[in-house]
């Protein structure tokens, strides 16, 4: 236990010390607290920055990715100079610069059923800054089993949700969402896009809740869900109750230990390859280039949205957005060979599933999508 602040720290935290709700005792509480941040992306960036600035004594960061240029539109903890570096190292360096007084623990590994309890057990509060259902259910269950608050934030395009799931005092994530949606029904941020400032708003709200809980002040979002829409600039609150049938925190809970979350959600999680249509369907950019040399009229079906064609397109390709494939397949000739593509290969894989169940056979899925084509064949095209 640290029991006093240095002169330098008193100056650094003076705007906190001036407020009776925090004060010297509150600041010491923060200094003796620890928070685990799962993910150092859009949500984790503002969360970790504000927690470090507030003087949380120990912050754990979990991520296994490296910084990419396409992250910088929203992941403000990273910078141009750290593109290509490990995200946890890039984040640690930025946080140490912001506040050299605090301890940063880094975990350069995916958060899984094997390591999650070990990683999380020594922290007071867990922050969910993940972007996929398996890791969200895992984060929830770990928090329930360890009896720790789970500060939940989630985003999609212009919508955000925030709550504090703390099974000791209120509902957990599974009380609200007992099951994830079936795979493919909700597109990911990589496919659907995200308004860059949105995770800033949601992550900052998560950091607010974490700091309040550590200080023991105010009304935490336990039993309430905040719904934010950036386009409407609307904040709505709804009440959440504990679900008596909840499988992890209910009185008759039957899930007593961590499970296989990828199986539960029906989707591959970390390092997932959702860009393959399966054996026999895939074609590499080089193979497609060879095919086009033999048959320049080979039908190319682009299943991206019309506004994506403005970013980059392949000349001569026919555009039917994935959402319209089922209705417009009469425009296609099942006797004619075609290559289906999108940005990365996952929407085209779903288009192939749809067409295949309607009897189409002569199709290939461009592996890696137009981005792989731009990287490996036509380097005059931009990546996005």
């Amino acid at each position: 236990m640290v029991e006093e602040l240095s002169h330098q720290q008193i100056l650094r935290y003076s705007r906190h010390l001036l407020m009776p709700e925090v004060g010297l005792q509150g600041q010491l509480k923060l200094k003796n607290s620890s928070v685990l941040v799962i993910g150092t992306g859009g949500l984790g960036s503002p969360v970790a920055l504000y927690l470090a600035a507030a003087g949380i004594g120990r912050i754990g960061l979990v991520d296994y990715d490296t910084v990419d240029s396409s992250n910088l539109q929203r992941q403000v903890i990273h910078g141009t100079s750290t593109v290509g570096k490990l995200k946890v190292e890039s984040a640690r360096d930025r946080l140490t610069d912001l506040n050299p007084d605090i301890q940063i623990d880094i975990f350069n590994e995916p958060y899984t059923s094997e390591n999650a309890l070990r990683i999380a057990k020594d922290y007071d509060v867990i922050i969910d800054g993940t972007d996929n259902f398996p890791t969200r259910y895992l984060t929830n269950d770990v928090s329930v089993f360890l009896g720790k608050p789970n500060i939940y934030g989630s985003i999609f395009r212009f919508d955000g949700q925030v709550s504090v799931f703390y099974a000791k005092e209120g509902p957990c994530y599974r009380c609200l969402f007992p099951e994830p949606p079936p795979p493919g029904l909700v597109p990911s941020c990589a496919e659907g896009g995200v308004f860059g400032v949105l995770p800033g708003t949601i992550g900052t709200l998560q950091a607010t809740e974490a700091i309040k809980i550590l200080l023991g002040i105010g009304e935490p979002l336990i039993g309430r869900l905040l719904l934010y829409n950036a386009l409407d600039m609307s904040f709505d609150f709804v009440k959440l109750k504990k679900n008596p049938n909840c499988r992890v925190c209910g009185p008759n809970a039957d899930i007593k230990e961590l499970i296989d979350y990828e199986e539960f959600c029906g989707v591959p999680g970390h390092h997932a390859d959702d860009t393959s249509a399966g054996a026999g369907w895939d074609i590499t950019p080089q193979e497609m280039q060879e095919r086009l040399k033999l048959d320049p009229n080979l039908l190319l079906l682009d299943v991206r949205e019309p506004h994506e064609l403005e970013i980059v397109s392949i000349k001569g390709a026919k555009n039917i957005p994935l959402g319209e494939v089922a209705q417009r397949m009469s425009e296609l000739d099942s006797a004619e060979e075609m290559v289906v593509f999108c940005k990365r290969g996952s929407r085209s894989a779903r288009a192939i599933e749809i067409l295949s169940s309607a009897g189409f056979k002569k199709m290939k899925n461009l592996k890696g999508g137009i981005n792989a084509w731009a990287e490996e064949v036509d380097t005059s095209l931009p990546l996005y």
Partner: protein, 93 residues
């Protein structure tokens, strides 16, 4: 007339509308009106058996219909209905 709030992920099926005006004295009637106006949204809310999908939550005012009378929950004048889906976004990877 009641206002039904549509979240971004489902606006693709309501011609981009964030709010839809529906009629009905209870939730089931309001949802029938919604799916009549926008048939494409139906499979995203109901399963093949016609039941609400478990990951879709409907709130009347501040309360989850699961904590009230389910789809039989009555709608009072001026109460707003919100559809709340699970979203996973964020930027982990």
């Amino acid at each position: 007339m009641t206002t039904l709030r549509i979240p971004t992920p489902l606006r693709a099926y309501t011609s981009g509308k964030g709010e839809v005006q529906v009629t009905g004295a209870k939730i089931s009637e309001a949802l029938t009106d919604l799916t009549n106006q926008f048939p494409a949204i139906k499979p995203h809310i109901f399963n093949e058996g016609g039941e609400l999908r478990p990951f879709v939550n409907l709130f009347v005012g501040e309360n989850n219909i699961k904590d009230l009378q389910g789809v039989d929950t009555p709608i009072k004048d001026g109460e707003k209905i919100m559809l709340i889906p699970s979203i996973a976004g964020g930027n982990y990877g």
